[in-house]
Symmetry: C2
Subunit: 210 residues, 2 copies
DNA sequence: GTCTATAAGGCGATAGAC
DNA sequence: GTCTATCGCCTTATAGAC
């Protein structure tokens, strides 16, 4: 049970601030250690508060995890939703790749949290995957099918094209350690996302051009 | 410390068998629950033996995990090693994609074990990534560079091409739950790997054709 | 709202009989 | 080699003072 609505605006604001601090810290730890690998102590330390104090805001460890996953899913669907039926097909796909790569660069922790959840069988978000996500993919797959019929794209399996874009872009967040182990220092530090964007755009433009 | 060499062949064989049973069970549990999410009890139950009995073969939980990662890395490098400098470039790349997809289909647990390890910062295999894996990628990148210079492949960043093949193929093992949540029943059950192979071959052949 | 203290249970690992 | 019993730590979560 959350704390009751406070009597003044001031208290409510403090509550919100603390919840944000906690979720920010929880994201940091969950995304690198996984759910079971994370202890409440670690999150509390990162949030600069005591463990019982943290548990005043989120009564159970799982509540923090679920809150993070819930707010994640909305943002996660956004880039695909923006794919525009009125746009030029190859350009829309390139823009989608760019948006996904930007998210991998800016929100790697969210990507890893999601990856951890899926890897372990998606116990907390399976319904959303089979519901909202599936519907969105169905919708955009039909859009891609239309583009193919209009000869604006080479024939391909739309769903698997979407999967491949997810895979290649999220890879730069989820497998960052491996990528950095392989690239030379200069590339690793400055240009890996830009290099990835160029390669992927070339691959998909040539690969899907009618 | 492992049990000392036994006095008879028979005992040694039993040891090996038990070690294999344990590692097989450990792979099953580690790959779905992660290291911290796995308990020795679970592995022992899956292996059909008591916890202390299991700990007679592997003194610590981490020993099982490390053994699995070590034996995994060898198999992991094999598909890329087989990329043949004497072959036809586009065909070699298609064959590499096929081999990787086959591994995702046949050994999804190994893929997920690896993904879990990388996601959490690769604490147990960082040296191998920066050593053997990096050298192999360097070698094959030079091969791809040569193919590009000979106008047998379109210009592209070889390392990122390799990354994209890893990402797209391993995705079918690591994110299987998500893929199955989205695909229709028929596709999900029978043809998803075949559909993926066709789409990816088309994408890379057209995308990298000079 | 925040703290100290602690209950309650899970889990890795060991002891020691057989 | 395998078992039963158990130690001792770590971790979640709660009680209750301030």
């Amino acid at each position: 049970m959350k704390p009751r609505a406070a009597s003044t605006q001031r208290r409510t604001r403090i509550q919100k601030e603390n919840e944000e601090i906690i979720l920010e810290s929880a994201l940091e730890i969950f995304s690198t250690n996984g759910f079971r690998g994370t202890t409440i102590d670690q999150i509390a330390a990162a949030a600069g508060m005591s463990k019982p104090n943290l548990l005043y805001y989120f009564r159970r460890k799982e509540d923090m995890h679920q809150a993070l996953l819930d707010q994640l899913l909305t943002n996660w669907l956004a880039p695909l939703e923006e794919m525009d039926p009125g746009g030029e097909p190859l350009e829309e796909i390139c823009k989608y790749i760019r948006r996904k790569l930007e998210m991998a660069e800016k929100y790697p922790r969210e990507s890893r949290l999601f990856a951890n959840e899926i890897l372990q069988g998606a116990p907390h978000i399976k319904e959303q995957l089979e519901g909202a996500l599936r519907e969105l993919v169905d919708e955009k797959s039909m859009l891609i099918e239309n583009w193919i019929e209009q000869k604006k794209l080479a024939p391909c399996d739309p769903r698997h094209v979407i999967f491949s874009i997810w895979a290649t872009t999220q890879h730069y967040a989820d497998f960052d350690v491996q990528i950095c182990a392989i690239l030379a220092e200069e590339e690793r530090i400055k240009t890996r996302f830009e290099d990835a964007a160029k390669m992927l755009e070339g691959l998909y433009v040539n690969g899907l051009k009618p």
